[in-house]
């Protein structure tokens, strides 16, 4: 394959790499005179990268590059666009918060862009080494970001914890990959599936490898029982970084789960689906029940993420590999829809937390939301939409997402254990509804001490409003995004 074709395929990543370096260097010279220059450049870069990443969406072409290391298709385009969008939202939400805390520097942008580059590489990876490279790039950038406030004890602790456990997870993943390589002699995900299909590899080695890979992915998703780092890191990391952690990396984790497990190891579906079922149920139970006991908002969102990831795993479980392609695509499309809307809702929640914080005051406790409906009814309304969406209540998109997952879960299986999974998941949603509703209650029913309306710049105001309303509009009219996700997955599965 000639280099030009390769380059066209990786255009978004190449562009992002260039921009990240440019921002890093330019900030050194412009920081004093134009404090917002790097911010503007970053947003422009993200817009350009988004335009480049949207390409496969219109053509629908699958492009392999660099000898099959890299794959650019409609599915990667949708996930990348969401990740880019989430990163841009993060920066917009973070601006006033970071300015007041001396974090509004080139490092934030450059590391954010590098993390995004890692995310995008993972999304497009078609080779286990590529997956690992992307993962490490993302993780290293995020370790740095978590520790950005090095004078803050909690942030440092969070960074250490994240680094140690993250390294362990990377080790798991790498170990699993090496076993897969040992059994099949290939790192290419497509070739992996073919070699397993042809039947020579030793099954036990493959299963052992799969166990480690699944554990690694569960670690990155934050699924129980590999979730221990999530609440601590969410709580300890600076809020903008927690937002970054909570959104884009989940998209990447979904992508690698899909690429490795569904595309690479379909023959071992029976094995990994059982593991995923256990992970999903444990996450939903542990996440929801533990979140109830939290008083810290960021920590609560951490546990809520664990529960949400459990739901996402349910959808991964739902697709029966090798069955009817359309139904399978429906299941993985549901998972993709779930993770995209989850990223959107989480971004909004952290946005509200950032908005509430003032100079020298971290609005992290649930109690800090008291009386928000009186102070700023509009933001209380937006936060209400976000909470309802995370709780999965109509007419918000959170309901649609949970509904398509449940529907997928029971679609192929007909009867048997899947129904019980659906019922259990639904029952724990009621527990989940309790703590999300408690936030709504705190905002609307409790009296606050602070009566001042929240102040926000125009970019923040527009972004947060659009974010909240998007959840409502997508909830009422989900067809467009749902069809996009289903179509992308269908093509990825070769239907």
């Amino acid at each position: 394959m000639d280099p030009l074709t390769d380059f066209i395929a990786v255009l978004p990543e190449a562009l992002l790499l260039g921009c990240a370096c440019l921002v890093l260097v330019a900030d050194l010279f412009l920081r004093e005179r134009h404090p917002n220059a790097a911010y503007g450049m970053t947003l422009v870069s993200l817009a350009a990268v988004a335009a480049a990443a949207a390409g496969p969406l219109s053509t629908g072409l699958e492009r392999y590059a660099f000898g099959g290391m890299y794959l650019s298709d409609a599915m990667s385009a949708v996930l990348k666009l969401t990740a880019i969008f989430a990163t841009a939202l993060t920066l917009v939400y973070a601006r006033s918060y970071a300015l007041k805390r001396g974090m509004w520097r080139g490092e934030l942008f450059a590391l954010g862009l590098f993390a995004l580059l890692g995310v995008m590489s993972m999304i497009s990876a078609n080779n286990l080494i590529m997956v690992y490279l992307g993962l490490e790039l993302q993780s290293l950038a995020l370790y740095g970001l978590v520790a950005l406030r090095r004078d803050d004890a909690r942030a440092t602790e969070a960074a250490m914890k994240y680094f140690v456990l993250g390294a362990l997870a990377s080790g798991f993943l790498l170990y699993g990959m090496s076993m897969l390589y040992g059994a099949t002699g290939t790192l290419d995900i497509n070739a992996l599936a073919q070699r397993i299909h042809s039947g020579q590899p030793i099954h036990s080695v493959l299963v052992l490898g799969t166990i480690f890979v699944v554990a690694g992915i569960a670690f990155k998703l934050g699924a129980a029982p590999f979730h221990m780092w999530v609440p601590d890191v969410y709580q300890g990391a600076p809020t903008p970084v927690a937002l970054l952690l909570a959104s884009a990396p989940k998209l990447a984790a979904f992508a690698i789960a899909f690429r490795i497990l569904v595309e690479g190891l379909p023959q071992l579906a029976v094995d990994w689906q059982r593991m995923i079922a256990v992970l999903a149920l444990t996450s939903i139970a542990v996440g929801n029940v533990t979140a109830v006991a939290q008083t810290n908002l960021k920590r609560m969102l951490g546990y809520s993420t664990v529960a949400q990831m459990g739901f996402l795993l349910l959808a991964l479980l739902a697709g029966v590999v090798g069955g009817n392609t359309a139904i399978t695509a429906g299941a993985y499309g549901a998972a993709m829809f779930y993770v995209v809307t989850y990223a959107l809702a989480t971004a909004g929640c952290f946005g509200v937390i950032l908005l509430l914080s003032r100079e020298g005051f971290e609005a992290e406790e649930i109690a800090d939301l008291r009386g928000l409906a009186k102070r700023s009814p509009w933001y209380a309304f937006v936060m209400t939409l976000l909470m309802l969406s995370l709780a999965g209540l109509p007419p918000t998109v959170g309901f649609t997402a949970k509904f398509v997952v449940l529907q997928a879960l029971v679609s192929e299986s007909g009867s048997g254990p899947m129904w019980w999974l659906a019922v259990i998941a639904v029952l724990f949603s009621v527990v989940g509804a309790f703590y999300y509703l408690r936030i709504v209650k705190t905002m609307w029913f409790d009296e606050g001490t602070d009566q001042h309306p929240l102040e926000a710049g125009p970019d923040m105001r527009i972004a947060l409003t659009a974010n909240g309303l998007a959840l409502l509009v997508l909830g009422i009219l989900p067809q467009g995004l749902l069809a996009l996700c289903n179509g992308a997955v269908l093509r990825a599965l070769g239907g």
């Binding site: 409906a373 109509p394 007419p395 449940l406 529907q407 659906a422 009621v430 509703l437 989900p478």
Partner: protein, 499 residues
């Protein structure tokens, strides 16, 4: 499906648009303007339901005023609306009660006015949506979405224990409806990928799935109705809700559950309905008798009416499960009548509460001396509550007892005790509050009802009397649809011997 004007969509979305507008203007608008916009919205929303009454053809059991558009392609769901004889009257009833609710909060609500009225208008549109939805998923979305405004209404404008009551209300009903969601998903699979409720009704189902479906629907609707023993959220919610919240809750929201039995439980799982009818009948009779006694000993007026609502709704579910035209039509008539009467009772309590800030029966006595016009209205509604002939309450109770006696004499006899119990708690409360000597100085200073209150109570009084004296327009609409429903329910859906 001829191209006609989408009246049902208009009835659903007009109040929601008004509500959204009120939210948008928010704090900037003057209170007078907000009230005027809210009332205009409510009245216009009522007016657009009139063509539905006028254009309704009582001769066919099919859905009318249908609108159908593709909503979600995969899994396939439609924006599919339509009304039949069973649901038709609830559309104008909901809009009518919303007008009353807007009038009820006219003076007593002073905080967050625009949000208050927005919540009621949006709630009204959503509830009409529940009655009109002919697509299972659409039904569910409307059904669940009604929880949110009601949660806020109770929690923001409610009494001292409002937070507890609001969360209890929400979680109780959510738990029930999520099980229904699983049932809906199952039906989607079983019907080969359709959310069409009418198609579901024709779907052949085995015995076990029918029973599981029936129980899942029961979980959702029994909580909403509410039936004994899952009724405990209702007294809390009513006591803490503001007057208008109680009016809407009692008059319409409880009917969503009862309506669900007619739309889902009976036609989709008819064999299970027959098999488990003893359970529902037992739960209903306990509600009628036991809850009737519980109502008798209440010292809080709102609690008393709340328990009386549970007893009356027990009558409704009893009527459904005796499987006769008289029973089902009587139950539907009872639902409509209860909408007027319970709404009126809560409004009356609200009138007193606005003046004295007490709901304790013991704090009153001799109100007739200072509020004679109010006493006259309250008399009418108390009588209607115990089912006096020539009031709307009589029609439904009579038909249900008739149906119950046809089904089984003793069931009818136990149900008929409601006439005694209802009279006892309604009239005893009336006597203690309205008659006697003025014992409390606050009562001596009471002002009689003003023009706005007179209008709200007067409208309800007209409705109660009209339905009591001349119920034919309401009952006639029901015949064809109820006959079709019962004919459908009487046929077994599964082949004998199969599971």
């Amino acid at each position: 499906m001829s191209a006609h004007f989408p009246w049902l969509s208009l009835a659903i979305w007009l109040p929601i648009v008004f509500g959204a507008y009120l939210l948008a203007v928010g704090r900037t608008a003057a209170p007078g303007g907000i009230r005027a916009v809210a009332l205009t919205g409510a009245v216009l929303s009522l007016l657009v339901t009139l063509p539905v009454i006028a254009g309704f053809d009582a001769g066919t059991p099919n859905l009318q005023f249908t609108e159908k558009f593709l909503w979600i392609a995969r899994p396939t769901a439609h924006y599919y609306l339509g009304v039949d004889g069973i649901s038709m009257w609830f559309v104008p009833l909901t809009a009518f009660i919303t007008v009353i609710a807007v009038l009820a909060g006219w003076k007593s609500i002073e905080t967050r006015l625009s949000q208050y009225y927005a919540a009621f208008l949006i709630l009204s549109g959503l509830m009409i949506g529940v009655f009109c939805a002919a697509d299972g998923l659409l039904f569910y979305v409307f059904f669940e979405a009604t929880l949110i405004p009601m949660y806020l209404i109770i929690g923001v404008w409610g009494g001292p224990r409002r937070v507890y009551a609001a969360i209890k209300f929400f979680l109780y009903t959510l738990l029930g409806s999520l099980l229904m969601l699983v049932a809906l998903v199952y039906l989607y699979q079983a019907s080969g990928g359709s959310f069409d409720i009418i198609a579901w009704q024709k779907l052949p189902l085995g015995r076990t799935p029918q029973i599981l479906l029936f129980l899942a629907f029961l979980a959702a609707f029994a909580v909403k109705v509410p039936m004994w023993p899952v009724h405990t959220w209702l007294p809390d919610a009513h006591v803490e809700a503001p007057t208008a919240g109680s009016v809407v809750l009692a008059a319409i929201m409880l009917k969503l559950g009862a309506y669900g039995f007619l739309r889902f439980s009976l036609p989709i799982a008819p064999d299970a309905a027959h098999e488990l009818s003893w359970l529902i009948i037992a739960m209903s009779l306990i509600a009628v008798v036991y809850i009737g006694f519980v109502a008798l000993v209440q010292t809080d007026m709102k609690k008393l009416v709340a328990y009386s609502s549970i007893a009356h709704m027990g009558f409704v579910t009893l009527g459904f499960f005796v499987f006769s035209p008289a029973g089902v039509e009587g139950a539907i008539a009872q639902m409509i009548s209860h909408g007027f009467v319970s709404g009126a009772m809560f409004l009356c309590i609200g009138v007193l509460y606005d003046r004295t800030h007490s709901r304790n029966i013991a704090d009153y006595g001799g109100v007739v001396n200072t509020m004679p016009r109010f006493a006259a209205f309250a008399m009418l509604f108390a009588m209607a509550n115990c089912g006096l002939p020539a009031t709307s309450g009589f029609v439904g109770e009579f038909l249900v007892i008739l149906g119950a006696v046809q089904f089984d004499f003793w069931i009818g006899a136990i149900a008929a005790t409601t006439l005694v119990l209802g009279a006892a708690y309604s009239l005893w409360m009336y006597k203690r509050v309205i008659f006697g000597d003025i014992g409390n100085p606050a009562v001596a200073q009471l002002q009689d009802i003003d023009g706005r209150e007179f209008l709200a109570l007067g409208l309800l009084a007209v409705a109660v009397l009209w339905m009591g004296v001349y119920p034919a327009p309401v009952i006639d609409v029901l015949h064809t649809s109820v006959a079709e429903l019962l004919a459908h329910v009487s046929q077994a859906k599964f082949v004998a011997g199969s599971l």
